[in-house]
């Protein structure tokens, strides 16, 4: 049996000392595998991804990501994880190229990679336009390029195909899809699509894991 890339045991996250955003969540993700996280709005999916990215401190349980015990060893995580959340993490008054160059410098990535990725996500023609002038789908393509810029071993994807038309979704497949071969934790409302591309599924309802026979959207 392989060592897991990511393990979560009995994770608890509480907001304002009252709201249990996550309550007893456990998952295990092996290298190269894909885990889908399903649930309705407010189920705790985004909170889980933020904990795994090291952006949110867990309040209970054990979280180990790429060998780093969180939150104690959070300092080991930066640069190891690719995170594509609801926010694109791009500056609206910089162009796509300027944004990617900025992130490349922070991650110590060669600038040639920026040009290559802009081509891969089909943003070459609009690479020098300010992000605020781009459509949501274009911004999402740039955000995907930003997430994989440093070639991370683990991708945490929150609705990665939101705002994408089928052609754009196909374009991103080699970067963030099954074809990428990367280990992924995938949050999605597209139950069918997520089930088709995942090796395991975590179902959440109001922060608690539930079985496959229970209705997530009740």
């Amino acid at each position: 049996m392989h060592d897991p890339l990511l393990t979560v045991d009995d994770l608890h996250v509480v907001y304002d000392d009252a709201v249990h955003a996550l309550n007893g969540v456990s998952i295990r993700v092996d290298a190269g595998s894909v885990v889908a996280v399903l649930g309705s709005n407010g189920a705790g999916k985004t909170t889980l991804l933020r904990v795994l990215a090291g952006l949110l401190r867990p309040h209970g349980g054990r979280v180990s990501v790429l060998g780093a015990e969180l939150p104690r060893e959070r300092w080991r995580l930066p640069g190891q994880v690719g995170y594509l959340g609801h926010e694109p993490l791009l500056y609206r008054d910089l162009s796509g190229r300027e944004n990617l160059r900025y992130h490349a410098r922070l991650h110590g990535v060669a600038e040639e990679r920026v040009a290559a990725l802009l081509g891969e996500v089909g943003m070459d023609p609009r690479a020098d336009d300010p992000v605020r002038e781009l459509s949501r789908g274009m911004v999402q393509r740039l955000a995907a390029a930003r997430a994989v810029l440093h070639d991370p071993p683990l991708l945490l994807l929150d609705e990665p195909r939101a705002n994408l038309d089928p052609a754009a979704a196909e374009l991103l497949e080699p970067l963030i899809g099954r074809a990428s071969g990367r280990t992924r934790v995938l949050v999605s409302h597209d139950v069918k699509g997520a089930l088709a591309e995942s090796d395991a599924v975590l179902r959440l309802r109001r922060g608690k894991p539930v079985g496959a026979d229970e209705d997530l959207y009740r």
Binding site: P78, P88, L89, L90, E98, H103, L106
Partner: protein
């Protein structure tokens, strides 16, 4: 640390160049306050203690605008998350933000101080040279160190426009005293430095202490 700090600083300067959100607002605010003092005090010219007080209080209030905006873009556009995901020492972020604020203040003073000289000052501003620029630079360094710290703290809250002046201005009182006392003899009719070494020494001490304190606690401010 220098590489990432330079990268973040370049980005901040580019964003300011494009959006013009801070420096023009700070400059216009300073000039407006000088105009208000001109009419409010009903005097054609000021000198000595009053001139030094008006100069520095106005610059400090203008700094509040810059401090309020310093982390706003990061919070509004996810820059903090991006920085936490990147292998960047948080001290680099502090250095970049404090440097950006320092440069914003210098840019504001390049316009606001001559405007003060023209609109309010009795004695010639030329007589305050070369000491006044040195006092301004040391003052800016202290404001930048404390301002970056307060801005990071306030960025976490929804009422940062209230938190920034409430935290920043009391922390800047010692700096205000040193700057005003060092400047006052330079703005008298019989211009010339007086006790300058003592006030510059205290100002330098303030700067060193707050740079060190800010670097020490900055890491904890960005925790969720």
């Amino acid at each position: 640390m220098i590489g990432p700090a330079g990268t973040i600083l370049r980005k901040d300067l580019l964003l300011e160049w494009r959006t013009k959100e801070s420096v023009p607002a700070m400059t216009l605010f300073s000039i407006t306050v000088y105009v208000l003092f001109h009419f409010g005090l009903d005097r054609n010219s000021l000198d000595g203690e009053l001139a030094a007080g008006v100069l520095w209080v106005t610059l400090l209030l203008a700094a509040v605008i810059g401090v309020t905006r310093l982390f706003a873009t990061e919070r509004e556009q996810g820059g903090i998350d991006a920085l936490l995901l990147a292998p960047v020492d948080r001290t680099a972020l502090f250095v970049a933000k404090a440097s950006a604020l320092f440069l914003f203040l210098v840019a504001v003073e390049l316009v606001a101080v001559p405007a003060f000289g023209l609109m309010l000052l009795g004695p010639s501003l030329g007589g305050a040279l070369p000491e006044l620029p040195l006092i301004l630079l040391l003052g800016d360094l202290g404001i930048a160190a404390v301002g970056a710290l307060v801005s990071a703290l306030a960025a976490e809250t929804r009422i940062r426009e209230l938190i920034v002046p409430l935290l920043l201005l009391p922390m800047l009182v010692p700096l205000l005293i040193c700057c005003a006392q060092a400047t006052e003899p330079l703005l008298r009719p019989d211009q010339g430095p007086e006790d300058l070494g003592r006030w510059l020494g205290l100002l330098t001490l303030y700067d060193v202490v707050f740079v060190l304190v800010s670097v020490a606690v900055f890491d904890f401010l960005l925790e969720d």
